[in-house]
């Protein structure tokens, strides 16, 4: 009964925690510029993420090591230094973007300039990390994040043609601006397959002490939770296509994006959009800061854990505090959160081979996964992901320059 409860809670919180600044901004732009045509990119990215998240959980439940620790141990620090540095930089940029997104949500409600909200939000995130355990971060924020289901509701109320939606799940060539189309497709992948999610999930598996016998819970949570989360992202794209594209609005700011809720929610549109954006971004910010602490501690072999007393994990606590403080400085300096998001999304794609390649090795090493290896189908899929990751990494910089 407890396992079923954990499963349902895990799925529900995965849905609530799926949508954040990156997925909202890329899906809203994709919908407003290309209608439903980029739905396939969300579908593929979600399947990629679900697969990698399931592997992260499996590896941690069996080996009792997180992804970062396993990579450090198996590949050595000379390899680890690249993904570790890149992940820290991306975490910091994305953290600044998420806090900025949450601050803009508060600006939509209060009218007070978003930069005034950066420090209070950062302090709130730090307080949650300092005083609350992993359960509050994982479940509390995930449950509040269910407000993002309003994107799915609005897409459903707008009654898109089912045939067009189904056709958009198959990749097709755009009728205009192929560079921009390719840029948005790659950005959607980058916004969805964030490296922080993999290590965060893997560390969460260890925090919750998942046993080898509970691997079915891990599989169900990752596939169902991520796929339902992907539906929320699709809700953003469909709503944007049905509302913003028809009005010829291409959202370059969250203020513009908020207009997508007006036809369905009327006078509740702005409060609901602000709640979805604010909770989604704030939840992601807390997870990002925590993950930065996890990665530092796991790579350098420090004691770590959100549930541990702070004095027993002092360097871990110092690491997440430092990363959070750095992100707050970036936010206070006034860098545009939307641009920071797109930049970190591009960087995520650029390091994708370093994120995916270790899985191919680790998931076939009995020292880490015992008898729970990937199998031929899993290996083929991982090889495809690695090649795809490599290709995306090559094209992302020119696309960012010419299509971003």
């Amino acid at each position: 009964m407890s396992a079923i409860f954990d499963l349902v809670l895990g799925i529900v919180t995965s849905i609530g925690g799926f949508v954040e600044a990156g997925s909202i901004s890329t899906a809203a732009q994709a919908g407003s510029e290309f209608g439903f045509q980029l739905l396939w990119a969300i579908a593929i990215a979600t399947l990629m993420l679900a697969m990698l998240v399931e592997m992260s959980g499996r590896l941690s439940a069996v080996s009792k090591r997180s992804i970062a620790a396993a990579v450090r141990e198996r590949f050595g620090i000379k390899f680890q230094v690249i993904p570790f540095t890149a992940e820290l930089v991306i975490d910091t940029l994305l953290l600044a973007a998420e806090i900025g997104g949450a601050a803009i949500a508060l600006k939509l409600l209060s009218g007070v300039h978003w930069q005034w909200w950066v420090i209070p939000l950062g302090a709130m995130a730090w307080a949650i990390l300092w005083w609350c355990g992993f359960g509050v971060v994982e479940y509390g924020i995930g449950l509040l994040g269910l407000v993002t289901l309003s994107f799915v509701y609005s897409a459903w109320r707008l009654q898109p043609a089912t045939k067009s939606l189904a056709a958009s799940l198959v990749p097709s060539l755009p009728q205009h601006d192929p560079v921009r189309y390719a840029f948005l497709a790659v950005s959607i992948v980058g916004a969805t397959v964030s490296p922080y999610l993999l290590n965060f999930y893997s560390s969460g598996t260890l925090e919750e002490r998942m046993a080898e016998e509970e691997l079915w819970v891990n599989r169900a949570t990752s596939y169902l939770g991520m796929c339902f989360g992907g539906v929320v992202s699709m809700g953003v794209l469909v709503t944007s296509a049905m509302v913003l594209q028809r009005q010829h609005i291409i959202p370059d700011s969250y203020e513009q994006a908020a207009l997508m809720f007006v036809p369905v929610f009327h006078d509740w549109a702005v409060p609901l959009f602000a709640a979805a954006l604010g909770i989604g971004c704030f939840g992601a910010a807390v997870e990002l800061a925590l993950n930065a602490g996890y990665v530092c501690a796991q790579v350098f072999g420090w004691s770590w854990g959100a549930n541990r007393p702070r004095r027993d994990a002092a360097r871990f606590s110092a690491a997440f505090t430092l990363v959070l403080a750095t992100a707050l400085v970036v936010g206070v300096l006034g860098f545009d959160p939307l641009r920071l998001t797109l930049l970190s999304v591009a960087l995520t794609v650029a390091i994708m081979p370093f994120v995916v390649l270790p899985f191919l090795v680790l998931m076939n090493d009995p020292q880490y996964v015992k008898k729970h290896g990937s199998g031929p189908i899993g290996n083929v899929l991982l090889a495809v992901l690695t090649v795809l990751g490599g290709l995306l990494a090559v094209v992302v910089v020119p696309l960012e320059l010419f299509g971003g």
């Binding site: 600006k107 560079v179 291409i250």
Partner: protein, 121 residues
């Protein structure tokens, strides 16, 4: 990848077209925000903030279109820069209307902006 690389080498006309699209989007945004405010679907706090943000974006586009003398010498760019300036003026006036809750004036300006709306690219 080759197609992407070839398409990536944009001509100046394509750049101008991109700016025209952005300016049309910002004009549509201005209309949408004000109409939603006039219909009571969004409050003044949001409308004011959103109009201010749209104003900044229009100014960015105007600066981008008129960033070089040779660019501004092109008739299309010149027309776009003037169009952006006109939208900025309307947004500034609309912000005042929202602040003073002057629906009558705001409705009139929306009407003017709609009449002046060029065909969508």
């Amino acid at each position: 990848m080759a197609a992407v690389a070839i398409s990536a080498c944009r001509s100046p006309d394509a750049e101008v077209q991109k700016h025209a699209q952005k300016i049309a989007s910002l004009r549509a945004t201005t209309l949408s925000i004000t109409e939603a405010w006039l219909q009571g679907q969004v409050n003044g706090t949001y409308a004011e903030g959103a109009l201010e943000q749209t104003f900044h974006l229009v100014e960015q586009e105007r600066a981008a279109v008129a960033s070089t003398p040779s660019g501004l010498a092109r008739s299309r760019s010149n027309a776009l820069a003037r169009e952006a300036e006109a939208i900025s003026r309307v947004i500034a006036a609309l912000s005042q209307d929202v602040q003073s809750r002057d629906g009558v004036n705001a409705r009139r300006r929306v009407g003017d902006l709609r009449v002046a709306t060029p065909e969508q690219p």
